[in-house]
């Protein structure tokens, strides 16, 4: 893709570009959190607990007198990481299994796809609850859970892509000149799946962020003293009527980031998906 085409796509997809900027802003805020705030996210200040937004604390303070904006900046690290890392893991797992399933066919395909069917049959929050119960909460537990919840959908899509590409002329050509199977899978079919995978990734991140926040909201996910937006909402819920800012600020942050990723995903699908381009 040359530069003019890219610029044209960006002009056509203003919402997606804006979303990318919002995401970038969130990421920068999370990375540079210590430089953006004078407060410590864990230090209590009981004298100023549950005070409303003012000049000293732009978003108010929580039940321990901790600055909410500061905690949101640090919480963004966990929430964003919970969106990205597990989604990468589930992409890796799902792609490997999907490719294998579509390429090998037969019994291997049957086994992998039946396991995927079973995973996809669960209501996703319940599946996450079940897995987190089994492997334990906390940062590692939640990340692993999110990765295990989402691989099946990826596997199914990648398998379908693999089957489509396997029947294409360039794969037949490669096969006819004696290219080995693994090389066909990795060098001819996998690259063809990449546009789909980028879209899947972009749409997988917000769903992982939402699942993390749901788990933490229920008290099953991230455990204090670590924090994430979902956990902040959970902790602030007791003070919903006296200090609503405790919960609402992280709620808005989750909504914004989820919205931004969804818009970006839609935009990328329009730009990358060859099936839709013909329309």
């Amino acid at each position: 893709m040359n530069r003019d085409k890219l610029l044209q796509l960006m002009r056509e997809n203003k919402v997606a570009v804006l979303s990318a900027l919002v995401i970038l802003l969130f990421v920068l805020a999370a990375v540079f959190a210590p430089f953006l705030t004078p407060y410590d996210p864990k230090e209590m200040d009981i004298l100023h607990r549950l005070s409303g937004p003012d000049a000293a604390h732009l978003l108010g303070t929580d039940e321990g007198g901790r600055d909410i904006l500061t905690r949101m900046l640090y919480g963004a690290r966990v929430s964003l990481l919970a969106g990205v890392l597990p989604t990468l893991m589930s992409m890796l797992l799902g792609t490997a299994l999907g490719l294998l399933s579509g390429f090998a066919g037969g019994v291997v395909d049957e086994i992998i796809m039946r396991i995927a069917d079973v995973m996809l049959a669960f209501p996703s929050t319940l599946l996450a609850m079940l897995i987190v119960y089994t492997i334990g909460g906390g940062l590692t537990g939640v990340f692993l859970t999110l990765a295990l919840v989402n691989w099946a959908g990826v596997a199914r899509v990648v398998r379908a892509e693999t089957l489509r590409l396997r029947g294409s002329v360039f794969v037949t050509a490669a096969r006819s000149i004696g290219v080995p199977q693994t090389r066909i899978a990795l060098r001819h079919i996998l690259p063809g799946c990449i546009p789909t995978m980028i879209v899947l990734f972009t749409l997988g991140v917000p769903s992982a962020i939402l699942t993390e926040s749901s788990l933490s909201f229920l008290g099953l996910g991230i455990q204090p003293p670590a924090t994430s937006w979902g956990l902040m909402i959970n902790q602030g819920r007791q003070y919903l009527y006296t200090a609503p800012w405790c919960s609402f600020a992280p709620c808005v942050a989750i909504m914004l980031i989820v919205l931004a990723f969804n818009f970006l995903g839609d935009g990328l699908r329009d730009a990358l998906d060859p099936h839709l381009e013909s329309k």
């Binding site: 669960f122 897995i131 819920r237 709620c251």
Partner: protein, 307 residues
């Protein structure tokens, strides 16, 4: 058509067995003797042994699984560790609340969703379209706990119009129904809008207009019928999703339904209860998928003939 239904039914049964097996294995992998965990510090070894034998936990794992499956088929899911009652009766009373919540949420979602979808499709690009689609987009993108808490705060606490939590009267279910249904309403209205816009391009719509029918007749009696095909199947999936227990909604509004029961089971480390609720919920979802698949071929004569 009957054949394809039977095949889907068989597949569903296989998936359900897989689900039961997966739940069973996952809950046995948790380290520690569940009896000791349940009794905490007061555990004395002979009591632990006696309880372990009573609950059949000393048997080999495949025997336990077989017992569990045969029991579940007869509607017996064992006894809850933490509440001391049969899991099946706990689930039955919880399901009543979940059913009330689901039906009210579904009614809200479908009426609002279809209305918004139709109105924005016929006024595509206009201000009404933007308003309704903004409303739908909010529903789709706001996390359920956020919607729920905003509703609680505004209508319950600030305006005192509706109760904040509980499940005593029908008024208790209004806010939870909106919180749970808004998301589905958003999805329904977006689907209705895009499908209706496609259908309105069809030749037979042109014919209907050429006959001089009013636009209202064309939309309501000619276009909407075909629009509803994908919408109805989405409704079936949504409804089974709601019936499987709205964990977050039920927790925020303190409604004793299936979803809240499963949260309770986790915090009480109550394996039979968790096993029962998750198995039940997943079965409901599998059934919903089956119905939605079949609905498609029942409703659409074109597919019925092909299959």
């Amino acid at each position: 058509m009957r054949q394809s239904f039977l095949r889907r039914l068989a597949e569903s049964v296989v998936i359900l067995i897989g689900v039961a097996l997966l739940i069973f294995i996952m809950l046995r992998v948790v380290p520690g003797n569940p009896i000791e965990i349940m009794m905490g510090e007061h555990a004395n070894q002979s009591t632990v042994d006696r309880m372990t034998a009573e609950l059949g936990l000393d048997k080999p794992i495949y025997v336990q699984f077989f017992r569990y499956i045969t029991g579940a088929l007869r509607g017996d899911f064992g006894t809850s560790y933490s509440l001391g009652k049969p899991v099946s009766s706990l689930m039955r009373s919880a399901f009543g609340n979940t059913l009330k919540l689901s039906v009210s949420a579904a009614v809200f979602a479908w009426v609002i969703g279809i209305l918004c979808g139709v109105l924005s499709a016929v006024r595509a690009g206009g201000p009404a379209d933007h308003i309704f689609m903004g409303f739908s987009l909010m529903g789709v993108s706001m996390p359920v706990f956020m919607t729920a808490m905003v509703l609680q705060f505004f209508f319950g606490y600030y305006l005192h119009w509706l109760p904040i939590s509980g499940s005593g009267s029908w008024r208790n279910f209004i806010l939870p129904a909106i919180a749970l249904g808004w998301n589905s309403a958003g999805a329904i209205s977006r689907l209705t809008r895009s499908t209706l816009l496609d259908v309105l391009q069809e030749d037979y719509i042109e014919t209907a207009r050429a006959k001089g029918l009013t636009e209202t007749t064309v939309v309501l009696f000619h276009a909407l019928r075909n629009t509803m095909l994908p919408v109805v199947t989405m409704m079936a999936i949504q409804f089974s999703g709601m019936l499987s227990g709205a964990v977050i909604t039920e927790t925020v509004f303190s409604i004793n339904g299936i979803g809240r029961l499963s949260v309770l089971a986790i915090s009480g480390r109550d394996i039979p209860l968790l096993q029962g609720t998750v198995l039940f919920s997943t079965a409901v979802v599998i059934l919903g998928n089956l119905i939605s698949d079949s609905l498609y071929s029942v409703l659409d004569p074109r597919i019925r003939r092909e299959a």
